[in-house]
Symmetry: C2
Subunit: 221 residues, 2 copies
């Protein structure tokens, strides 16, 4: 049995939840308000961040490491393609979303709109919000460009690239920060990913004090 | 033949250079001042950052993706351990250094002390420098803790974890931002990694306007 220390509106945590669910693995979710620096949690993960996967074999922080571990331990269904070249492209896009999209869009928007309020560490910085919203447009355009050329973000088959991107977008969609009118093709792609059984647990998330956008769990949004 | 678009004082670029050299692969280095947003470079990598590996098979940005690609294409000598569990631990530490050490220490220190001057985008923010220097202590203590228990950072054998950590530390050492008196065991570990042939190219780096610290290339510092 897997336990996952997570925070509901954390893109890397959501990515791990999607990967576990796609592999058909049961998980017990334990919500961790990591900014409170709970001592027992820090002993398990001195980095102090989520997600952390715990099972009888290991205690493992870092979403990238967790996803590679799950893929190696439970190869079916595969979330990385077969060829070395195609795997490189999927991992490039995982990096794109976790590093670039994270830094430019999801981290600032979630920090300013959610974490600051929950952790009572100040008012949202409207400049950071504005810059995150602006950067989101560039990223949606890039996804549109990819999806005009490919069935899925990373190539012919659904992969870790799609679940990484969907994990980020779903957090922003919860707080109504995705402009779905910008690209029909991206909206269709997201609707398809969102309708997978693996997504159900994410769509049921409710964060006290932060009601989800009305269309958030609607599969025909 | 591999080409690597890189910047000398970039930890992820240095990590890729170390991995290529450990695998015995020749590389042509092309310095890219990524903040200048050169159009030809953006066409190759719309993310606009370094490193980017280019060879007859592919054009590949993102250091994590590049290192996994090289490991799969050129498995010998291995830089990831054999067992799934041990690989997870190495990838956890790669994440620790690239994400946490990067965000808390090397990115702020290199941005404030080097990139701002080169890109003429303002004066160093002394608060950011102070906070980076302070965080570096915590990280050296964590490395000390690991190396009291293991021969190498990731376990019994040298691995991607050591090269990732050494890539970050070597950039900071270039600008004299590592307090080597803090841990004898970390200093010894770094001296051992630094004396490997793969490190030679890094020790020869010279950035105009930023002379390396006098001990930087000294193997008996």
């Amino acid at each position: 049995m897997h336990k996952l220390y997570h925070f509901p509106l954390s893109p890397p945590c959501r990515k791990v939840r999607l990967v576990l669910a796609e592999k058909g693995l049961d998980v017990e979710l334990i919500e961790e308000r990591y900014w409170e620096n709970r001592q027992d949690f820090l002993r398990m993960n001195p980095a102090g961040d989520v997600p952390v996967l715990r099972n009888p074999e290991l205690v493992l922080p870092v979403a990238t490491a967790i996803c590679e571990y799950i893929e190696e331990r439970h190869p079916e269904p595969p979330l990385l393609p077969k060829t070395v070249k195609a795997r490189a492209e999927v991992r490039r896009l995982v990096g794109w979303f976790d590093e670039k999209f994270g830094r430019e869009v999801s981290e600032p928007l979630l920090r300013e709109r959610v974490i600051k309020k929950l952790s009572m560490t100040g008012q949202p910085d409207s400049q950071a919000v504005k810059s995150g919203v602006k950067a989101a447009r560039f990223h949606l355009d890039y996804m549109n460009w990819l999806l005009e050329r490919r069935k899925w973000l990373g190539g012919d088959a659904i992969s870790l690239a799609d679940f990484t991107a969907a994990a980020h977008l779903s957090c922003l969609d919860y707080i109504s920060d995705v402009d779905w009118t910008r690209s029909e093709i991206v909206k269709e792609w997201y609707a398809t990913v969102k309708s997978r059984p693996a997504f159900r647990s994410l769509l049921a998330d409710q964060l006290p004090g932060f009601p989800a956008a009305s269309h958030y769990s609607d599969l025909d949004f």
